[in-house]
């Protein structure tokens, strides 16, 4: 099993902690000169998304994690799993709900997503930054109030709910930012 020593620590390094894949966010060396050096490490658990801290004595080793990020095409969901495919090799991957929990409302069939694979299993999915979805339901609102100040909630075809301006109507297509979950504009 490959290992990393503290002197190889740097931002982005993927390692195993208690069997879970983690990524170093920040590594700071503490060398008091009069004593042993340590590394203060902030890292993110790639499964839970939680950021944690640990301090490693210099020379300690951690196990390398087999983590890769790759672009995969989203195919469909069957109720239990979300299916993705490598558009070049046609290799298919199935993601459990935990891997897509935060983003499933932004998944559109055929879209290319960035998928994090741990030991070949999807553990995280990042959809395209901007996607276009149809408005499935929204309050028809007041015609003519195009200056619309407050906006109104709209349910999109994937089930996502975003705030949209009052003039947006059912059946229209809108562009949304998936990172912030915000409406950008109407699609032409």
């Amino acid at each position: 099993m490959a290992t990393y020593s503290t002197n190889e620590f740097k931002g982005g390094l993927k390692f195993l902690m208690d069997g879970q894949p983690c990524s170093i966010v920040e590594n700071t060396q503490v060398s008091p000169g009069k004593g042993q050096a340590f590394n203060r490490v902030r890292y993110r658990n790639l499964v839970t998304g939680r950021t944690l801290e640990k301090t490693f004595k210099s020379g300690e080793k951690v196990e390398a994690a087999d983590v890769v990020e790759t672009d995969l095409q989203y195919l469909y969901a069957d109720g239990d799993f979300w299916h993705f495919m490598d558009a070049e090799s046609f290799d298919q991957y199935q993601a459990e709900e935990s891997a897509v929990a935060d983003v499933k409302k932004w998944l559109i069939e055929q879209d290319i997503c960035t998928v994090t694979l741990f030991n070949g299993q999807p553990i995280g999915v990042v959809p395209p930054k901007q996607i276009t979805l149809e408005v499935a339901d929204t309050d028809p609102g007041l015609k003519g109030d195009s200056a619309g100040t407050g906006g109104k909630p709209a349910t999109l075809s994937t089930g996502a709910v975003v705030q949209v301006p009052l003039f947006v109507q059912i059946g229209e297509k809108v562009i949304v930012n998936t990172e912030k979950g915000e409406y950008i504009s109407r699609a032409k």
Binding site: N7, S31, G35, F38, L52, T55
Partner: protein, 337 residues
């Protein structure tokens, strides 16, 4: 850094260096630029000297020389030879140290004062820091803007900032509990009963961040009488063999300077060097040749009674300018060089 801001930072640095030198010229210290290359290296187990190969006429093989980690050894030879009060302001090298507070190549200020006790020198370090961190004008308005100064023994610091009454008698467990109570993130790789390391961690993780800060404002904290086991080349007073006459200075939670009432006995130098070499072997680190020229000089012409201190110049400049990392105040850091 864009070229304009780099120019303005380096101009301020130039004024800062002039200000530091002026402090010593006024006090009649001689500036010495001792050699950076030496046939001997510092044996301290946690310092790594860079080495280089030198073509020496008359020798068929390239000779290994070490870049100094501080100018201490040649400066002490000068003191033995009667040079009087001296200071060094220039670059030193410590391999492997790179962080917001460290560069492998960095500027060090080191000075020695004949006849000064440890406490005399602590006072002079405070004078320098006050002078550099405060424009002259502020003193004239009643001195209210001077940094607050605090002096604590190592033992008092553990009591005040970590709630450990007697650190010399405390167990590894007491130190571990202290880290937990202070919500310090988990430590990996330290044996449960390794008192030395747990004590070090209480100092670096719990105490140091609180030093040199009063009500969120920068202040000066001086910690003195470190444990005798960390004496390095400081004297151990006859009336208290538990401690060494060693001090450190902190501003804004950051170590700025480290000073000693200097050890004089040449035999003790050799003993402490040999102990460091033995420790290096225990850690599995490479051995290094000792500075035999220093040892010979100390034996031939005793070191006069003196105290000396080394201060991190890049850190002091960063404090003066309000930089959060030292590389903001230097031309090019290691990774840009």
């Amino acid at each position: 850094m864009n070229p304009i801001s780099k120019h303005s930072v380096l101009k301020k640095r130039s004024q800062f260096l002039k200000q530091v030198r002026a402090f010593f010229y006024v006090r009649d210290l001689i500036e010495v630029d001792t050699p950076m290359l030496s046939q001997g290296a510092v044996p301290d187990v946690h310092l790594r000297s860079l080495q280089t190969k030198v073509l020496v006429p008359g020798k068929s093989d390239l000779q290994t020389y070490y870049l100094h980690t501080s100018p201490e050894y040649p400066m002490k030879r000068l003191l033995c030879e009667g040079c009087g009060d001296i200071f060094y302001l220039g670059k030193v090298f410590r391999d492997g140290d790179l962080s917001p507070r460290h560069q492998v190549e960095f500027a060090m200020l080191e000075w020695y004062r004949l006849g000064f006790t440890m406490f005399d020198l602590m006072e002079e370090v405070v004078d320098l820091i006050q002078k550099v961190l405060h424009p002259q004008g502020h003193f004239e308005q009643g001195g209210a803007s001077k940094l607050n100064v605090e002096q604590l023994s190592y033992q008092q610091a553990f009591n005040k900032y970590a709630g450990i009454e007697d650190i010399f008698g405390a167990s590894a467990e007491v130190c571990r509990d202290c880290l937990v109570q202070n919500n310090i993130p988990e430590i990996v790789g330290v044996d449960a009963d390794d008192k030395v390391l747990w004590e070090q961690l209480v100092l670096t993780e719990v105490i140091e961040p609180q030093l040199g800060v009063v009500d969120g404002q920068p202040a000066i904290s001086l910690i003195y009488h470190f444990p005798a086991s960390q004496a390095s080349l400081a004297q151990i007073p006859a009336d208290n063999p538990l401690v060494a006459e060693r001090f450190e200075v902190f501003v804004n939670g950051m170590e700025l300077a480290n000073g000693y009432h200097e050890l004089a006995d040449s035999e003790l130098y050799r003993q402490r060097f040999e102990a460091s070499l033995a420790e290096r072997e225990d850690f599995g680190f490479d051995s290094v040749p000792l500075d035999e020229n220093l040892l010979k000089t100390l034996a031939d012409k005793p070191l006069p009674d003196c105290s000396g201190v080394a201060l991190g110049v890049d850190r002091l400049f960063a404090l003066q300018q309000g930089f959060s990392t030292i590389d903001e105040g230097i031309g090019f850091g290691l990774l840009e060089s």
